[in-house]
Symmetry: C2
């Protein structure tokens, strides 16, 4: 029997507030610190490890976090989710993105069909399409092979697939599996589509139009933009466009597309990278086998999220420590700092994933909550961020918990030795140094050069960023956000907060405004 309770009604949360705080700078210094780094590590899928030595916990805090996990029934709630209960209560929907990469529990039958089979069928179909495109069996009207794939989508149809493509582009080049270059059009600003179109050869491009509802204004507008360009180039648009949508959308049965692939209402946009939303563009870009490896990495990590023991469930542990930092220690934002150029847009994806899921003030029953929920998420790859905003992270007046990611090897396999070390060694040396600098700080007679320390971080370490480890990373953060939503008793799978702006924008375009909105509209010459 699952109980959905607010965090502040849980006994373990009351206990958590009373547990003695960890002095992180002290704990991370000397042999004690070394021991923490060795001990406070949880294996993840595909050789990754989640190391939380530099987060403000000790065995006592962990003990209470374990109680919290149990009292909040985190694994039971996850089980209910993957077995097909209506977890998205606001919209009365199942939450099934895990099924796009594996079967974690019972078969889930909805709308009269087995959903795992449905997602696999879609995957089989778009894999087949990708293979035909790569083999030159599907070509443009002139019989030429397609060389470029352009995703048209916004939000979850853009950020996740784009971040995943960028994460694997160089790996694929190095491994001779980059079949087509991918580009992305998202913004309704016409300069976005115009710039992308100006930079590609439209005659050899396939466009993947992604909109679950088939009504996303930005995406339909950009579709028209692209169709105009294709027609102006004397091309038949329907031979260049693929739709990814739900079966009930207006796009689903249109003759305007070379092919259509389906997702459904049980997969939220920000959780859709492993569905057809990410699958079509990634399979076209890298080949279906690479996309399958990516799914396998996510599936392996999902399986770990079933573990009841918090020390064997990295996503749940990360979620619990994050809640401790947010609600007990009062931290309002979190930075995601991957030491990997391939992950340049991964923080932007996590920003949506986390902030759109848990940036809410009412619980799943619509009652206001009396505690802080989702933090602000931001980040840039290291070492770039070190030369940018790290000043505030080290010496600012607020403490920002940090989530590092680092790999032992680079993707391209090219490197130089300068001052007796490779670039890759410098990259890794920097992330190790930052963790210790943030945690331990440094005394100095000059207060301007003093570092208080006590600034928490964790790091996920792996051998290399590749399809499997990328899948595992994605799953880790998706499940972390899900567990935090459970802890805060939120519905993490709707996004009612984006509706009002849409309604008002339509009113502006219909010239049905008054008051401030009318004056702003006039100022902008709408």
């Amino acid at each position: 029997m699952i109980n959905w309770k607010n965090l502040d009604t849980l006994d373990s949360y009351q206990e958590l507030e009373k547990v003695e705080r960890v002095n992180l700078a002290e704990a991370m210094t000397g042999e004690n610190g070394a021991e923490r780094v060795r001990k406070y590590s949880v294996p993840m899928a595909d050789g990754l490890a989640y190391n939380y030595a530099a987060r403000p916990v000790d065995d006592k805090v962990l003990e209470v976090l374990a109680k919290l996990a149990e009292e909040a029934q985190l694994t039971e709630k996850f089980e209910a989710l993957y077995n097909g209960e209506v977890i998205n209560t606001g919209e009365k929907r199942l939450v099934l993105h895990h099924l796009t990469r594996g079967q974690l529990g019972e078969a889930v039958v909805a709308d009269g069909i087995d959903k795992r089979a449905f997602y696999m069928e879609q995957q089989r179909k778009f894999s087949e399409l990708a293979n035909k495109v790569h083999a030159g069996e599907i070509t443009n009207a002139a019989g030429d092979k397609f060389t470029t794939v352009v995703q048209i989508g916004i939000g979850g149809s853009d950020l996740g697939p784009r971040a995943m493509y960028l994460a694997l582009e160089n790996w694929a080049k190095k491994n001779n599996t980059l079949k087509m270059e991918a580009r992305f059009i998202s913004n309704v600003d016409p300069d976005d589509a115009a710039a992308v179109l100006a930079s590609i050869d439209v005659a050899h491009s396939l466009f993947v139009l992604v909109s679950k509802s088939g009504t996303t204004l930005e995406t339909l507008t950009n579709e028209s933009f692209v169709k105009d360009a294709l027609e102006k180039a004397g091309l038949n648009a329907s031979r260049h466009m693929i739709a990814v949508t739900s079966e009930t959308s207006p796009l689903a049965k249109s003759d305007d597309y070379l092919a259509a692939f389906f997702m459904d209402d049980y997969i939220g946009g920000r959780y859709s990278s492993t569905s057809a939303v990410g699958g079509v563009v990634l399979s076209l870009a890298f080949g279906p086998e690479v996309f399958e490896e990516f799914l396998a990495g996510a599936a392996a990590e999902d399986a770990l999220s079933k573990n009841k023991d918090i020390l064997e469930n990295p996503a749940m542990l990360d979620a619990l420590i994050g809640v401790y930092e947010r609600n007990v220690l009062g931290c309002e934002s979190t930075a995601v700092l991957p030491y990997s150029q391939g992950l340049s847009r991964f923080p932007a994806h996590l920003q949506q994933l986390d902030m759109e899921s848990n940036g809410k003030s009412v619980n799943r029953f619509g009652e206001p909550v009396n505690y802080a929920t989702g933090p602000v998420i931001f980040g840039e790859p290291g070492t770039n961020g070190q030369h940018s905003f790290y000043q505030l992270l080290h010496q600012g007046t607020n403490i920002v918990p940090l989530q590092f990611v680092g790999f032992r090897e680079n993707q391209m396999g090219v490197d130089v030795v300068i001052q007796d070390s490779t670039s890759q060694q410098k990259l890794c040396a920097n992330v190790a140094a930052q963790i210790v600098a943030f945690a331990c700080g440094k005394a100095d007679e000059n207060p301007n050069k003093r570092f208080e320390g006590g600034r928490p971080s964790s790091i996920i370490i792996g051998d290399q960023l590749n399809p499997k480890t990328l899948g595992a990373l994605l799953s880790h953060f998706e499940n972390k956000v899900m567990f935090q939503g459970f802890i805060w008793n939120l519905n993490s799978f709707d996004q009612e907060g984006v509706q009002l702006g849409k309604v008002l924008a339509k009113r502006v375009l219909a010239h049905e405004t008054d008051g401030a909105l009318k004056v702003y509209s006039d100022l902008l010459h709408i």
Copy 2:
């Protein structure tokens, strides 16, 4: 006589804490709201306007903010800065980036020379170089024209120039003034340089190496990376490389470069876009005339920052309201949300500018301050952000002040009409709608669909993003950050917080570690 005082010792600050708070939702509703939007607007340079109607102020709050500006001697401090006082007390340096674009006060003589003349001389020299490159008078060894310019730099040598390039790339294409494409290498991750090099024709590329000290590890490493690539291609590296550095740096007198241009210690990296750091790459990319227009826009906006009346000084007003939100209302982060695809990396630049300048806990005398200083800054272009993190901004448990930017016209001049409006109109309708949605909110019986409102924002509105308006925008935010540093009594022009990480990273590379740092190093196989 200038007094440097902590914010919490100022009478006007005490008064500010007691002023009645504005009910923003109420104030922005109905005809009162319309009147605010008409009235709460300050002209900026080049037709821009700073509209603060949706920020939580009224005439009473503004009156006290004016007192605060006076008591904190903001314009006097700015005057001292541009007249050459040692404002960067930590490093005992003048702060002269304004001189790269204009003479705001007296001639500033330092190191025995007139600094404005020095910066102009550098500009004249790199303009000449750019013209020769464009005219084919400076070519590669084969006598071919250079087609691509690649900036090698990190932090301030990367983020600002990159953001400015991206902001003008499409404008330049449209106006037939894109002379060379620009690319950027910054990260020490070897995959960054490898990917850029794989995507360009090195034989026709010029590389601009930017490091003030000439010792930035990332940049020197990437220089070697590039030199290796040039040599492997059988090219003479010194014919392809330009240095931008200080006259005292090891790079300044090397024969390894086609040319060297100089900046000095009086221009901080994050304030260097208008110096040779941005000037060389932007002049090569767009032509010296475009760079001059950019400087003219910044100079015109700088001049406004001298105004004592807060209602005629948009940067100072923005700074004051930001401090009110940060210190009185308790907001910990600020989002920068440009509704312009060209400004896609402008938030990343402001993130450095702001967080590295004011993310500090001690005042300019090294004494700990008892109030919050610089906020976390993050952002993405609209409408993309609307489909990502706006959920939290609308309904999250913390209030995040927002800084919108919007333009009436796009840059590429290509558009489509869908559902009776252009994409540009949709873009503008969305930003107008968001401001009102955030400020006014919406009642709803379903608490999940309820919007509290009262979420503050301002907007800078202009006709088009072009060199002049970009310069004005840059100056606005630079001067805003400077004024906030004055209010918080910080030294905004050093960055001691980045040093400790560098020191520890060197220790790791020298294998001189113990404790936690050694174990992390082992885990990362360094």
